[in-house]
Every structure is written in C-alpha cells, then in structure tokens.
C-alpha cells in the first residue's frame, strides 16, 4: 500500500476577522496550500471539507473551480477537521486517488457556545437549573484530576503563560501578546479552578492540506511529511464527557487514550520518539490531562514537568508550539487541521521563531464534544 504525504499546507490566521466570512477564510487557506506547493485546484482529485458554524464546506467549489471532483462535507463535532484529514488519508491509502485536498474553516459567534439540551438528547430541566455549560465539564474534570494526582492551579497558569508566549512567535495565532502568570491566575474565575485566561475562545480561521501518494509526490518532484499514523475514536462506557447527567461507576478509558494507542500502533512508534506535540487545549487543564492520556507522562508528573519548562520551546517535549487553542482560539472546522499545519511547518524547518530543532516526528491530538478524539503522527 502507498504511503500518504502532506505535500502542501495553507492557513488563514485565526482570530476575529469582521470583514471576512468563514468561507472567505477557508478559500484563502485552500489557495495558500496550492500556492505552497505550486499546484492548481484542477490538479486535485478529491476534497473533504468541514465547517461547524460557517455553512457548507463545499461552498468553496464555485470559488476554487467547478472541476467536477468528488467533494464530501464532513461534520464530526470538535474533530471535524481531524476527521476530514482522516477521510483524505483513507482515500489515498485505499489506492482510489493519488492527490487531493482537505480544508476546514469556521466562524463562531463571540462568547461561550450556547447549546440547547434537546440537541444533545437531554431533558429541558437540565438546562433550566444551570447544568448545560461546557465550562462546568472542564472544571469538574480537572478538579477531580487535581484531587487524584496532586496538580496545583499554578500549573494551569503555566500552561496558559506558555501558550501566549508561543502565540507571540506565531503569525497565524490570534493572541500575540504575552500574559504573565500572575495576570492569568488573577483573571476572572469562570469555573473553579479555571480562570478566564485559562480558557480558549470560539474564533475564526481556515486551514487546508494537500495530500499525495508516494508515486504522485515523486512524479511531481514534491516533498512533504509522511502520515505515519492517523485515527479517530469515540467515547466508551466509563468515559467522562461534556453534558453527562450521569457517569458509570466503573471508569473506562478516554477516546483520546484509544485514538492515541491506535495511532502509535499504526506508526510503530511510542511517546518517547515524538519530538513536538500539538495537544487539545480547550482550557489549560485539558493540555495537562492530555499529556498523560497521550502517553507523554504519568498522571501527576505534569506538575514538575511544567515547573521545569519541559513543554516550552527548548524543553524536552515542546507542546502547542503555535500557542494552541489558547492563543489561536477554536474555530471547530479548522482547529484540528491547524495542529497538523503547525507540525508540517515544524517538520519542514519552516517554523521561524518557534522552530523545534531537528524535529522528525510530530504528534497532534484534537478532542472535543460529544466525546471523540483524533490523532495524527507525521514524520519528516
């Protein structure tokens, strides 16, 4: 079977862009990816696209060109972008196609998401009494983790501090000013122990990747990181997910643990082989828990690792080198593709100002509602 390579990558800066629709930003990213590799839209044999709140992804077609290719809209919660990538990976791996594009974009209203119980199969009383908030889930999950594994609130502050430091160095980041640890710790409490600056915000942005088979890549004289492993997994009994009026007494693995294991198995590598990682950081606590769920440390070791700066640029395992969701915001359709875009820059030695020297294996993990996780492992 052929290998799958990412031969081109483009991005529209994340953040707030009042003069542009989500679609505008997706098309911008798609054209940037084509320009990155010197190809035309007519060279693409397929497309997979995702957008959660900014309309149909296939609305890019009239702008990029009505070439008649297969284009499939992907909608898979917070892993929409990651799932579009996985679909493109399968399309080439199966031998059906040689080259195509995955694109994701979004534009969310300001402020926290505003979900309705009925959309989640929940009774209305659950929302009436004030339990229908994603922020509560994050507070509950990390509070228990802190209690079980001895993590302090300062560690969550360090995660956000690092994110904003890295954002300063990243052209596609939204938050590009450093924020000190004290300011983060003393910002408004949202859901204990998490403060305002420890949460990412819904945002806007677009990202696109061009995938190619070994043969096509050689034929065109291109290069690009190889996809060593890619997997999406969903929740099982005993997983703790958002908007759960009840949980199983018998606890089980998270979808991230399942997707991580599947991707490592495919790649034939382990956590200690990874040089740079992009981990879902919807809030600071998520990055801490995901370090362990993806195998990079044991539960509880994060406290010392963060204090020692292990996940900062120049540390043992730099995490979220572009500032992650905390500094970039979270446009759902584009977020997982942003992570992969950043790893492509790192593995190609193009991450100017934030380059992890000699990075060979890049790991990315996107996670979210309603309880799914997608992992991609790239090799330069």
């Amino acid at each position: 079977m052929t290998n799958v390579h990412i031969v081109g990558a483009g991005i529209h800066a994340f953040g707030r862009h009042d003069d542009k629709s989500g679609l505008d930003q997706g098309v911008f990213a798609a054209r940037a990816a084509l320009a990155d590799v010197g190809l035309k839209w007519g060279d693409m044999q397929f497309g997979f696209g995702g957008s959660s709140a900014a309309g149909n992804a296939d609305a890019v077609l009239p702008r990029l060109g009505l070439t008649g290719i297969q284009f499939v809209n992907v909608a898979n919660g917070c892993a929409t972008g990651g799932s579009a990538l996985l679909a493109g990976y399968w399309a080439i791996k199966s031998g059906e196609f040689d080259m195509g594009m995955v694109v994701g974009f979004d534009k969310h209203p300001r402020g926290a998401f505003n979900p309705e119980p009925a959309d989640w199969g929940l009774p209305s009383w659950y929302g009436d009494i004030g339990l229908m908030l994603t922020t509560q889930f994050f507070g509950n999950k990390i509070n228990r983790y802190m209690g079980l594994h001895g993590i302090s609130a300062t560690t969550f502050g360090r995660v956000a501090e690092k994110a904003f430091e890295n954002g300063v160095r990243t052209p596609h980041a939204w938050r590009r000013e450093a924020i000190g640890l004290n300011a983060i710790m003393n910002s408004r409490m949202i859901s204990d122990p998490l403060t305002q600056y420890m949460f990412c915000s819904p945002a806007e942005g677009g990202a696109a990747l061009i995938l190619a088979s070994d043969r096509k890549m050689r034929e065109l004289g291109l290069t690009g990181p190889k996809v060593r492993g890619a997997a999406v997994r969903t929740r099982v009994n005993g997983s703790f997910e958002v908007f759960s009026p009840s949980l199983d007494v018998e606890r089980g693995p998270s979808p991230t643990q399942l997707a991580s294991k599947a991707a490592y198995d495919m790649a034939g590598v382990g956590p200690s082989d990874i040089d740079v990682a992009q981990l879902q950081d919807t809030e600071s606590g998520a990055e801490i828990m995901h370090m362990a769920e993806n195998g990079f440390c044991a539960d509880g070791e994060q406290e010392q690792l963060l204090e020692a700066g292990a996940t900062r640029l120049g540390g043992k395992l730099p995490v979220n080198t572009d500032g992650g969701c905390l500094a970039c915001g979270e446009p759902i359709g584009a977020s997982g593709l942003r992570q992969v875009y950043e790893n492509v820059q790192q593995l190609r030695g193009r991450a100017e100002g934030r380059q992890v020297e000699g990075a060979r294996l890049g790991y990315s993990q996107v996670y979210g509602a309603p309880g799914l996780s997608g992992v991609v492992i790239l090799e330069s």
Binding site: I129, N140, P193, S246, L247
Partner: protein, 136 residues
C-alpha cells in the same frame, strides 16, 4: 400548596426520604440517570437510587449562565454563584447535581452528600428541583 416538580419521573419521596429515579438498561444492566422516557424508555426499568453518596467532583458556576437554556429568575446583578458536581451513589451510578452550600471552600472530593428536594425559582414561578448537600 405543593410545588410542581421540574420534571415528571425525576425523583420521588418514600417514607419521608427523597430519591432520584434512575434507569437500568434491560440488555446489559448499565445504570443511567435520568430514567429515559419516550421511545427509549421501554429499554430501561426504573430504579429508586440511593439518597446518599460521596462527592466525586465539583466546580463553581461563577457567572450567570445564558438564557436559554438557563431558566433561573435571577439576572446578572442578582445572580449568586452556585456549586455543582457529581455524586457517586455506591454501586449504582454517578449523578450530576447542583450542590447546595455556600461554603465552597469546604467542598472536598469524597465528602458524604445527601439528596434534598428544594424550590428552584424560574421566571414564571417556583418549581421543585433536586440538589445534594453536604452531610453535616
């Protein structure tokens, strides 16, 4: 006059003690709360859950949630932060609940909790809701 419950089939009082009503899935015994209703309800049998358990995790809601879906009669100026979390009912299920306390700093994972029924003030009037409170 007795308050109307916020939803039918959510809780009941037996011998003066309040209980939540959960569901046991007939196919595999998995316990859930609340008891599913409608077309899904036939796959579950009702279970009167323990009225006492231990705090599994918690957090504090520091700002007034958006309406909808939040239906509290308060507004941004009269809103008071509230605790909520999960209570493990031994051998049954872990249920999500508001936690009735003003002493947030005293909340500890593993602390004993007891169910109570209490009024919840909606804009259109009070209804009867449930919460767990620390056992003193």
């Amino acid at each position: 006059m007795a308050l109307m419950p916020i939803a039918d089939g959510l809780f009941e009082v037996a011998d003066g003690v309040a209980h939540l009503i959960g569901g046991r899935r007939k196919s595999d015994g998995r316990m859930v709360f609340p008891l599913p209703t409608g077309s899904e309800g036939g796959h579950y049998e009702a279970v009167r859950l323990s009225s006492e358990g231990r705090l599994w995790s918690f957090t504090i809601q520091r700002f007034r949630p958006k309406s909808p879906p939040y239906a509290g009669a308060d507004d941004d100026s009269s809103f008071r932060p509230y605790a909520l979390g999960y209570v493990e009912l031994p051998g049954e299920v872990i249920v999500e609940s508001r936690i009735e306390t003003d002493d947030f700093a005293a909340l500890k994972i593993g602390a004993p909790m007891r169910l109570k029924l209490l009024p919840f003030r909606k804009a259109e009037g009070d209804v009867l809701a449930y919460a767990f409170e620390p056992v003193k």
